[in-house]
Subunit: 176 residues, 2 copies
DNA sequence: ACGGTACCAGACAGATCTGTCTACTGTAAG
DNA sequence: CTTACAGTAGACAGATCTGTCTGGTACCGT
């Protein structure tokens, strides 16, 4: 991975997450990453290409972060929930990057939406498998709930609603 | 309310909700509402003004719709949840207009975000008051949860995830 | 009859956004 | 040494977006 490419991607990740995708132009990314315009279009064939790189990279990051959480059963879910609760009330939290992106891309067939769908499927499966590993009944339905509560925590945290975040965590823990 | 103004607002409501705020330009609204550009700027001093009108009108609509739900206690919450569950898996549902708008306006001090905050506060209070009217304990905490689950249902429904919506409704009903 | 107001049609300015292009520099491999 | 490539700087085209302005029509209350 070349230095310029990662500088572009890091800058895009920071700006897209903090300010939104449509509000941040490629000129802004180029300026803050201190690369030439030609260099940008050498590494990414379009802005959409950069957006997809941003989301898929984030997806991979989450896989490493959450998949690598301690334990394999409900203790893993608890660890993930603890982490989620912590970051979602922390400074700089602006919601889930996938949900925010989905809100900006209304067409469900858009490639961006496919990444979002993939992420949510993966998360649901992670929950379901963890529940099954601890022999919990109704793993599928509980996984659906844990996904929905995760969405709610991300939204509430992004809006600065700490009370709702706590209520969500309590409910999720009670369900596992 | 003049005919042109309501035509503009109706068109904006339809387009902003279905396609997002930043992706829809005023030219598009003007064309589909079949009004002159001068007429648009006669009624709304800027695009932001139109966006705020869209959201505050939606807020008022929700107040009438949900506040007018049958009953005053938990039966009102149940009626609201039933309605939410129904529309959120229906065609044309694209999530909560307030949450979608918040995702597009990253600055928490932006007027758009204030409307979103107002809506969520109102919804939480409606839940809390309904719980108290039925003498349910821990009304505040349960209201937080109902708000978070509402967020989750709106998100999941907007992404076409019917399973998660159902899981959310079950959990909310169990909590009241 | 008249003045105000709501409306239509569309040109226009100015900013901004994406993407292309030219021209040049440094560097590492063959 | 030279060829290929990653990089810099910045002009440029073409589209799009917001907001203003001109000019004209129709209705409504006084």
């Amino acid at each position: 991975m070349s230095s310029a490419r990662s500088r572009i991607l890091d800058t895009a990740t920071r700006l897209f997450y903090a300010e939104g995708i449509h509000t941040v132009g490629v000129d802004r990314v180029i300026a803050e990453a201190t690369v030439a315009k030609a260099t940008f279009y050498h590494h990414f064939k379009s802005k959409e290409d950069l957006v997809l790189a941003y989301l898929t990279t984030e997806y991979e990051r989450q896989k490493v972060l959450l998949g690598g959480a301690p334990g394999t059963g409900v203790e893993r879910i608890e660890a993930i929930l603890a982490k989620l609760a912590e970051v979602s009330v922390g400074p700089g939290f602006r919601g889930c990057p996938f949900l925010n992106a989905a809100a900006e891309y209304a067409d469900p067939d858009h490639p961006v939406r496919h990444v979002v769908d993939d992420y949510r499927s993966w998360y649901r499966d992670l929950m379901r498998d963890s529940l099954k590993a601890s022999d919990r009944p109704n793993a599928d339905q509980k996984a659906d709930l844990l996904l929905l509560v995760r969405d709610g925590i991300a939204v509430a945290g992004g809006l600065g609603d700490k009370d709702a975040v706590q209520a969500g965590v309590r409910t999720a823990l009670a369900a596992v």
